[in-house]
């Protein structure tokens, strides 16, 4: 057994996993306020990346300006989605809202295809592709940057949920009716959670756009993000980060063992197995909340 190689797989797996967490954090934000897994988070991420490209490559703005500007635009888009689409569905069965987010994902994919076409483009973040060596271990720089962004967002949101606005969002997630009864604007809270998730989508879009190019395939990463979110417990930001690391390591190391046996393609299998096993064995995930039943 080659320990250097194994730890290289594990470390890079953990870093990739933290990039999945970028999706999962967005999912958790929306789930926390509306108890709906947002199937459009992949679509939002893709749109976030395209907006950055449109501002930097097409409009010629420098990236340091294009990315915050894209974040502002996506913040508005998130609020808009609540206003136009979700508000009508308030109080309807969750499955309706779930279907709406699925439709939204397809809509976003179609829209970007119509406007920007399907050719893959690169963001050109300017992160060097020179390998970074930690002892004998090779580490991808862009993954390291992405992991840093994921951890920074994690800290920011942990702090946010302790502020008064954050507490109100958690209250909304607990009980809509009780929230209304004390004057919390549930609609505005849900809108805010979508807006924040859309800002996270810009971060995820930029990093993933750099890793694998900006095209419609970005939205398919939702599946891995969703697996991470479910494993972590859909309403836990901490869970999204830890589960991201776990899934990344298991996927990277596991695939290395399994790929020679099955002839490749075992990554998807591992992700699917993790998703299915989580739902079967521990439906509320590693850190998700149980519904409280007092004895």
């Amino acid at each position: 057994m080659d320990w250097v190689f194994l730890s290289e797989l594990a470390i890079n797996g953990a870093l990739t996993g933290l990039l999945y967490s970028l999706f999962a954090i967005g999912l958790v934000l929306i789930y926390k306020a509306s108890s709906v897994p947002n199937l459009a988070q992949g679509g939002l991420t893709m749109v976030g990346a395209y907006v950055v490209l449109a501002l930097s490559h097409d409009a010629g703005l420098p990236l340091w300006l294009a990315i915050p500007l894209a974040a502002v635009i996506m913040f508005g888009l998130g609020f808009g989605i609540e206003r136009v689409a979700l508000r009508r569905l308030a109080g309807r069965p969750v499955v309706m809202i779930l279907m709406l987010t699925l439709g939204l994902d397809i809509f976003l994919r179609g829209t970007t295809l119509a406007i920007w076409g399907g050719t893959s483009r690169s963001v050109d973040l300017g992160v060097s592709y020179e390998p970074l060596f930690l002892g004998d271990i090779f580490i991808s720089r862009i993954h390291l940057v992405g992991a840093g962004v994921a951890l920074a967002l994690f800290v920011a949101f942990m702090l946010f949920f302790r502020t008064r606005t954050g507490i109100k969002l958690r209250a909304i997630a607990d009980d809509y009716m009780a929230s209304w009864s004390v004057g919390i604007s549930v609609e505005r809270g849900v809108g805010l959670s979508w807006a924040l998730a859309s800002v996270v989508a810009v971060a995820a879009g930029v990093i993933w756009g750099e890793v694998q190019g900006v095209d419609q395939a970005l939205s398919l990463l939702l599946l891995k993000g969703l697996t991470v979110a479910v494993l972590g417990g859909l309403d836990s930001i901490l869970g999204a980060v830890i589960a991201g690391i776990i899934l990344g390591v298991v996927e990277n190391v596991g695939a290395d063992f399994l790929d020679p046996l099955v002839g490749g393609g075992s990554r998807e299998l591992i992700v699917a197995a993790v998703l299915i096993l989580t739902v079967m064995i521990r439906p509320h995930g590693l850190f998700g909340r149980h519904d409280i039943e007092r004895v």
């Binding site: 109080g91 008064r164 507490i167 109100k168 958690r170 209250a171 997630a173 607990d174 009980d175 809509y176 009716m177 009780a178 929230s179 209304w180 009864s181 004390v182 004057g183 919390i184 604007s185 909340r289 409280i292 007092r294």
Partner: protein
Amino acid sequence: MQEKVEAEHILSMNSVEVLYDNVMLAIKGVSVKVPKGEMIALLGSNGAGKSTSLKAISGLLKAERGRISRGEITFQGTDITEVLAQNRVGMGICHVIEGRRVFEHLTPDENLTAAAPRGMSRSALNAEKEKIYDYFPRLAERRNSQAGYLSGGEQQMLAIGRALVTQPKLLMLDEPSLGLAPFLVEEIFGILQKINQEEGVSVLLVEQNALAALEIVSQGYLIENGRVVMHGTAEALKSNSDIQEFYLGGGEETDFHNVKHYSRRKRWLS
């Protein structure tokens, strides 16, 4: 002169009809007035329309696809029939909904924070919290544990405390005694009375437990089948033979003959 009389009522509900899903008539012309600074009870059995009346006043009907199809509600002289629920809270109407419904995954302290009105300063909020912990010392002890694990009585206290943070002028409570031991009901009702006297908050109390409610309110309305069938001072209601028989568990004879008598009389009552 008429103006003056109106102004003394913080709330008046005039022949309000409520429709659920556009078909089901839940209350059929209920008129209730709450004089400023007083405690009023809505009494009646299950499904009589008491909760619906409260939801009509707080605006929470909308969340259950109900609407006011006739009549109007005025609060401090302003017609609020069309005002959104969250804005009614801002005007000073707070509804403690049935079944306690605290934010289970938040701590009691966070439950209070969640109800803070927009623009309330941190120091004002902290002062408000201390005041609430003074009223409910049991909550102070458990302010940082998870609210879902509080006992039923503590959750009810938290629900009331949470409502107080919104700075209500009219506090409406839906069955606060539900499922609580008699000594707890007494404790909570005592605190409500204290809040009413010290803060000058008017209280509209919905109760099935008429016996306990009539001890603390000044007037009561009896609602049956979506209509007000009786209205009077607490004293008058307590001494009314029908009320005694049907709601206070009084009446002298209890043999089978009188059970039939009961249902006949009750139909007549509504």
